[in-house]
Each structure stands twice: as structure tokens, then as C-alpha cells.
């Protein structure tokens, strides 16, 4: 019961933040909420928009969940997302934009696998640097984000640039290689389903497998793991690789589901937006479906507010940030109280 009350505080808190933010930006609250609602879940097109916006956040959020559960502060989701895209784009070069293209189905899966591998490799690098050379993950992932971004820029105006060599973009993928749409008129694509499956899979991994158990244990108490002869380094690297793979998958799904081509604006902060999703999802994979949906709904709905304010998605960032600060603040304040020792 107490737990239920606790859980119900989240939506109430979120609603309060929402109302306050709307009021701050001088949007009539009732109308604003109505517009948000209709934009996010008002009709099936709105649902579809919401699902599409939630998908990359859910995946990068899951990535953060795994890494942070393992006690590693991976803030390199952005870089892993991008490198995933680059790997995918490279495969696309050979699988699609060639005289002998692969069959669409094979090309799509090949690109997706490459994206996952790319994200995983980029994260593995940070994990390896931490374990073998003691480079803090926070610093290395920041650096790797930049390197990835520049690398993407180079690829898009160099080896992967579109055929006409006019703009810094890759060739657009043909429709048959893109992920299948769930319905002809809507944006929602098969990636949405993949993301939800990933959430279930990660839940199973963390809470139902030996490997996931080791990751959680190492994150919770590395000393206890050591006392039980569990190799903390191995578990951390694994967490990092899985985390990067998820971010890479997010990149792949964005590439194959929405953008169809790569450019320097490929990642719209999706790597960073995973962090609030993971935190407000309580670092729980299934709860992340909910938190990603909420933020996806806000992003989708915010476009509807154009009549009152041109703020668009930026409003959502404010809401996310305030929600995280509120959540962290309350948690930290509680933790400060002395633990009950019997």
C-alpha cells in the first residue's frame, strides 16, 4: 500500500512540473494540457508519433540502465548511438549502394547488426580503458562522444557521402531496406516493436540470468562480489558492451526507421535523453517503457502547442530536467537521513 502511494506520487509530481512549465511559458494550462494530450495520444497518428519518439529514448535508456546497474557511469550513449549509425552506414554502402545489392531483408538485418556491433565496440573501448588503464568512464565517454561526432562528420562528407557529393549526407536508403511500417499512413515502424522486445530482453537479462545477476551485484557492492570470487572487471565490461549495443541499436533503428540517411545531425541528443528515461524509470527496464513513453508523448504533444508557443520539444527538455532533479533531490535527501540500525 505504502509502495502504491509512493508510485502514485510520480505522475502527480510530473503533472505538477508540467503545469508549472506550461504556466512559466505563458501557455494556458487547460488548453495546453489538452493539446499535449491530443498530440500525444489523441488519435492513432498521435500514438504513432509518440511511439516513434519514445523508441530511441527507450533503447538508450535501457543502455544506461544496464551500465549504471553495473556501477559504470556511461554517458557515452550519444557516441555509441553515432558509431552504431556509422557502422550501419558502412554496411549499407556495400549492401545497398552497389551494383549487386543484397536482398532487402538481408541488407536491413545486416545494417542493424552492424549498428549494434558499432555501439558495443565503442562502449567496450571505454570499458577497456577503465579496467586496463584506469581512465574514468565519465571522461573517456565524453571524449569518445566528440570523436564519434567528428568521425561521423568525416564519413558523411568523405567515404560515405552521397553520390552527387553535394551535401554532407549519406545516400538515402531505399524504402524496401527501411524497417517495415506498422501501417501505411503512419510513422510507426517495426523498430518500436524491437525496442519493446529489447526492454523485455534486458529485464530477463538483469533479473533472470546469471550474467545479469553478476552485473547487478558488482554494481551494488563490488566488495561483496570480490568476497564471493566474482570477477568485477568482467561483469563491468559486459555491462558496458550490452549498454553500447543498445545505444547502437537505437542508432540503427533511427537510421533504418526514420532518417534513412546519416548527417551530422543524426543524433538528436538521443544518447543523453536516455539518462532521464533510465533514472525516472528507476533503472528498471520495464518501467523505462513507461518513462520513455511519457517523454515520447510529451515530445509528440509539444509539437501541438505551436499555436501558443514555438518552444516545441525544448519544453520537454525542461520538464525532463526538472523531473530528474526533483527525483534525485528527494532520493538524496532521504539517503542523508541516517540508516536504521537495529
Amino acid at each position: 500500500m505504502k509502495r502504491l502511494v509512493g508510485i502514485s506520487l510520480y505522475p502527480i509530481g510530473l503533472l505538477l512540473i508540467l503545469v508549472a512549465t506550461l504556466a512559466f511559458f505563458k501557455v494556458p494550462v487547460r488548453d495546453g494540457l489538452g493539446l499535449l494530450y491530443s498530440g500525444a495520444v489523441g488519435d492513432r497518428f498521435a500514438w504513432s508519433r509518440m511511439a516513434v519518439k519514445s523508441t530511441p529514448m527507450l533503447l538508450t535508456g535501457l543502455g544506461m540502465v544496464v551500465a549504471w546497474r553495473g556501477g559504470i557511469y556511461n554517458i557515452g550513449g550519444e557516441g555509441q548511438f553515432i558509431v552504431g549509425g556509422i557502422f550501419g552506414g558502412t554496411v549499407a554502402r556495400f549492401a545497398v549502394f552497389t551494383s549487386h545489392p543484397w536482398s532487402p531483408w538481408l541488407a536491413t538485418s545486416g545494417i542493424l547488426v552492424a549498428c549494434v556491433a558499432g555501439g558495443a565496440a565503442w562502449a567496450w573501448l571505454a570499458g577497456w580503458l577503465y579496467l586496463r588503464r584506469g581512465v574514468e568512464v565519465v571522461i573517456s565517454t565524453i571524449l569518445l562522444n566528440f570523436i564519434a561526432l567528428q568521425f561521423l562528420g568525416y564519413c558523411c562528407s568523405g567515404p560515405l557521402q552521397e553520390k552527387a557529393k553535394q551535401v554532407p549526407l549519406t545516400d538515402a536508403l531505399p524504402d524496401e531496406v527501411m524497417l517495415p511500417k506498422l501501417s501505411r499512413q503512419m510513422d510507426a515502424h517495426f523498430g518500436v516493436v524491437l525496442a519493446i522486445m529489447a526492454a523485455l530482453l534486458i529485464y530477463t537479462y538483469l533479473f533472470r540470468t546469471r550474467a545479469g545477476f553478476r552485473v547487478r551485484l558488482v554494481g551494488e557492492n563490488p566488495r561483496m562480489a570480490r568476497a564471493n570470487r566474482i570477477d568485477a572487471g568482467r561483469a563491468k565490461i559486459q555491462a558496458m558492451v550490452v549498454s553500447g549495443a543498445l545505444c547502437g541499436l537505437a542508432g540503427g533503428i533511427e537510421y533504418l526507421g526514420m532518417s534513412g540517411q546519416l548527417g551530422t545531425g543524426f543524433s538528436q541528443q538521443w544518447g543523453f535523453l536516455g539518462i532521464p528515461v533510465a533514472l525516472l524509470g528507476g533503472l528498471h527496464p520495464l518501467a523505462c517503457i513507461l518513462s520513455a513513453s511519457v517523454f515520447g508523448a510529451l515530445l509528440a504533444g509539444a509539437e501541438n502547442l505551436a499555436r501558443y508557443t514555438p518552444t516545441g520539444s525544448t519544453l520537454v527538455y525542461v520538464i525532463q530536467a526538472v523531473a530528474v532533479l526533483g527525483y534525485v533531490g528527494i532520493k538524496a535527501y532521504r539517503d542523508r537521513l541516517p540508516a536504521v540500525e537495529a
Partner: protein, 483 residues
């Protein structure tokens, strides 16, 4: 001339009385040792005197003025300095910077670290200590770091110096030198308080001795009126009879350790040349004061720490991947034994990662594990609503039961146990002891490390003591305490 008077001080932690009606007088020009077993209240007493702990009742007077209880820095400014076992030195700083840091009285000023450290360095000179002011503090030997800590206190004109087990980290020659300096400071009129464990050292340097047991003052006496037997008796009460059980039982080969040497975390030699045997169905007790290599030896036996030389054998062969099954009950249950924010179930699962019946491929068989956890909770009468309760919410005794139950249910061939009864109430202690004895009778070889003599003697078949990484035979407890 300083006099520090502790007047009728009470302090409870949770439900446990750490100090009860403690009154002691410490005078200048004297070295006054405070003796007691672990948990006797020594640390609490000195923390009260130095302002780190606020007592529930009672006062502490310095030269007739009551000290600001519970405010460490104000106590320091009144001239009461404590030399902690864990130094408050910044490892990355030079010696000079550390000495200067202690002398800052305001922040908005430029400083000359050389000048600020000058006084302390002059004191060092007068004490015939060679100190390199530009050396990086963290790279200095522990004994030298302790000197810097003492210099920090002396340069602040401290009148009362409280030393927390200062010899625990020192080599014999360093101990000699420290005592030389203590005597000298006494002759200069300082009031010196020495929290100590080892009787021989206390008898060698102290002028007065106060013994604490279970939070109460047992006795205060001048050095001339006591000897080691008397002090040992005051500290631990009547020495329990040596346990002699299951001698009749036939014993099977178990653990053999030959000339084992182990390095500590900082690369120091923490155990040297240890040789012993524990047969199956035998408890070998390791006594001695904390920090003499027990944790390192225990971790090596539990295959967590690598040894630098020597051999650890099981039934004459090197340890295999599954033989013997090792159970390790660590010293500090909350940091090494449990993940406090995880459930009882998950905390128990740690010991069952290798059990085929709980896993199908990589996946857990939740039902079997759940039933197993429930059965352990039941059998070990752990007080919890269900297996999904967080271990952090359990009482200390139940936490220990979670650890012990998961380990013993695995039927380890070799069991390494550190201070199993520490912090537990009598009932929980009894229970844990019974379980350990049952494991012994089942045929486990048990290495029991304990600083509590009662615990050691009531459980062990044989007892060895650890002193500065060496194993010593003990003919009697007082010999050890005197050693």
C-alpha cells in the same frame, strides 16, 4: 599543566551501551593507557574526549572548563588532539603542505608553506626525527606518516594528546622510537592518553592504566601496582577452559598451508612464512589483535587474494576449480558480506551461482530458488517477511544469518570465518556458534579468525595467534596479550 577529567559519561548506540558511568582523570606529565578488548568502549571514550562523539550524559572537563562536547574542531582548539589510526593526511600533498594545512587559521591570505610548516619541522628536529618536507606524504612509510600526524598535533600546542592504537601499524624499532618520544613529551608536561591493546607495550611505557570492559571502568591503577596477569584478568575476566572436543573422532586430511607469504593492499608484507594444517572436521582458531595480517590470510585461504610465495593445498593437492568448496564469512558483513540494497533472495543467490538445480542454461529457475530461499529463512529462523525484503532492513543478527545460511547450505569443505559473533546479541551469537560447530561435525575444515578470546576458545579445537604477520603458538592467552 593540563588535567582532563571524564565525569560520569554515558553513551548508547542503538540499544547497546558503549559507555556506562565512565569517570577517569588524566593528568599532565603522565602517560595514561586505556586498555580493553574490542568493543569494550575504548574508541567511544576517546571519541567523546576529542569531540567526535557526543555523550548522552556526563561531562568532560579540561582544566576545570567543560569541553565543547561533540564538536571536534573546537576541542582541538582547546588543545585536545587525537592521533587517529587512519591518518588525516592528504596523500598527494608534500609533508610541508600537510603540516601547513593544519596551521591555517584563515583562508583569505597568501601563505608560505615553508614558514607555516617551520614550527612542526623544528619540533621534528628537537625530537630527532628526520623528515623530508618535500616528500609526497602518501609514499612515505606508515611509521613516518604517523610522525607527521603527531607533529601536526604538537605544532598546534596541544596539551592533551590521545593516541588510538598507535603501535598497531609500527615495526618494533618504530615502536621503540615512538615510546622514546612519548616519554619525552610526558617529561615536557603533556598529558598523554594511549588507547592500547598489547599489555607488554602498555606496561613498558604507561604511568597509569585504566581498563574498560563492556563499557565500564573495571579499574584505574598506577603502573607499579599492576602486572600483565592482573591486567589480562581485568580485561577479559576468567580465561575460559580450553575447548577439547571431538578429539576422539578420526580426522581426515584437509587444508595444508606451507611457508605462505602474502602482500597487503599497499604491497607491504602482511603475512610471512605461515605454515599450518586444518584437518576436515577441525576448527583452527586464529587470535590476535586486528591488523596483524588476519584479513589477508583469510582472503588468501578463501582464494580471493593471491599469495606471493608458499603453497596452499587441499588434501595434498593445489586447489581445483570446485574442490574444496569454500565458504567465506567476511569480517565486515555490511561492506563485504551483503549487498544491502538487494533482497535476501539475491544475497543468498550469490552462493548458488554454480548449483545446476537452480539454473537452466543461463536462466534462473525462479521457483526452485524461491523455495530454497524460503527454506533457509525458515531453517535459520531469519526474521523477515519474505525473501524479497532488502537485507539492509534486517537487524545485524539476521544479516549475519543470511550470510551464514547461504554459505553453510552450500556445504563448504573449507570454511573461513572472521569474527562471526561481532556485534550480535547473545542469542544470535549462540545460534551462529551452533551452526559453525555443526558444520565442523559434518566434516568441514574451519579457519576461525577472531579477536574475541571467548569466541576463540569456545569454538576452536586448536588456537594460533597472529602477530605482525607471523603465526605464534600460544601456551596461554596472557602470553599472547603480553607478546
Amino acid at each position: 599543566m593540563a588535567t582532563l577529567i571524564v565525569d560520569n559519561v554515558f553513551k548508547r548506540f542503538g540499544g547497546v551501551a558503549a559507555l556506562e558511568a565512565v569517570s577517569v582523570e588524566f593528568r599532565s606529565g603522565e602517560i595514561h593507557a586505556v586498555l580493553g578488548e574490542n568493543g569494550a568502549g575504548k574508541s567511544t571514550l576517546m571519541n567523546v574526549m576529542s569531540g567526535f562523539v557526543r555523550p548522552d550524559r556526563g561531562t568532560v572537563l579540561l582544566n576545570g572548563t567543560s569541553i565543547p562536547l561533540g564538536i571536534a574542531f573546537a576541542c582541538k582548539q582547546m588543545g585536545i588532539e587525537m592521533i587517529h589510526q587512519h591518518f588525516t593526511l592528504t596523500p598527494a600533498f608534500s609533508v610541508e603542505e600537510n603540516l601547513a594545512l593544519a596551521r591555517l587559521d584563515r583562508l583569505a591570505t597568501t601563505i608560505d608553506t615553508k614558514a607555516l610548516a617551520g614550527k612542526a619541522l623544528a619540533i621534528a628536529k628537537s625530537l630527532e626525527w628526520e623528515v623530508d618536507p618535500s616528500a609526497r606524504t602518501g609514499q612515505l612509510p606508515v611509521g613516518v606518516q604517523q610522525r607527521i600526524e603527531i607533529l601536526k598535533a604538537l605544532s598546534g600546542e596541544a596539551e592533551v594528546l590521545i593516541f588510538d592504537e598507535p603501535t598497531a601499524v609500527l615495526s618494533p624499532s618504530e615502536v621503540e622510537d615512538l615510546f622514546r618520544v612519548l616519554r619525552r613529551l610526558r617529561d615536557e608536561g603533556k598529558c598523554l592518553i594511549l588507547i592500547a591493546h598489547k599489555l607488554s607495550e602498555v606496561l613498558g611505557v604507561a604511568d597509569w592504566v585504566t581498563v574498560l570492559r563492556n563499557g565500564r571502568v573495571v579499574a584505574t591503577a598506577p603502573r607499579d601496582e599492576v602486572d600483565s596477569d592482573k591486567l589480562a584478568f581485568w580485561m577479559v575476566g576468567q580465561m575460559p577452559d580450553r575447548a577439547s572436543r571431538s578429539d576422539s573422532k578420526e580426522r581426515v586430511d584437509g587444508l595444508t598451508v606451507r611457508s605462505l607469504s602474502i602482500k597487503g593492499d599497499r604491497g607491504e608484507a602482511s603475512v610471512s612464512n605461515a605454515t599450518f594444517e586444518i584437518r576436515q572436521g577441525e576448527i583452527l582458531g586464529f587470535g590476535g589483535v586486528d591488523g596483524n595480517g588476519q584479513v589477508e590470510l583469510a582472503e588468501t585461504l578463501a582464494q580471493i587474494r593471491k599469495h606471493s610465495s608458499g603453497a596452499v593445498l587441499w588434501c595434498g593437492r593445489p586447489f581445483g576449480s570446485d574442490l574444496p568448496r569454500i565458504g567465506y564469512v567476511p569480517q565486515d558483513r555490511q561492506t563485504d558480506g551483503l549487498a544491502l540494497r538487494m533482497s535476501i533472495r539475491d544475497n543468498m543467490l550469490v552462493s548458488a551461482l554454480h548449483r545446476p538445480s537452480f539454473w537452466s542454461g543461463p536462466l534462473i529457475r525462479a521457483k526452485q530458488v524461491g523455495a530454497w530461499v524460503d527454506s533457509l529463512i525458515d531453517r535459520f529462523s531469519i526474521k523477515a517477511e519474505s525473501g524479497s525484503d532488502l537485507t539492509g532492513k534486517l537487524s545485524g543478527g539476521n544479516q549475519q544469518k543470511v550470510i551464514v545460511s547461504r554459505i553453510l547450505d552450500d556445504e563448504p569443505g573449507l570454511l573461513v570465518v572472521l569474527n562471526p559473533g561481532r556485534g550480535l546479541d547473545i542469542k544470535a551469537t549462540e545460534y551462529v556458534y551452533d551452526v559453525l560447530l555443526a558444520a565442523r561435525d559434518r566434516g568441514a575444515a574451519i579457519a576461525l579468525f577472531s579477536t574475541d578470546l571467548d569466541e576463540l576458545y569456545s569454538l576452536s579445537d586448536r588456537v594460533l595467534f597472529m602477530l605482525r604477520g607471523q603465526l605464534v603458538d600460544a601456551t596461554g592467552a596472557s602470553a599472547m596479550l603480553g607478546g
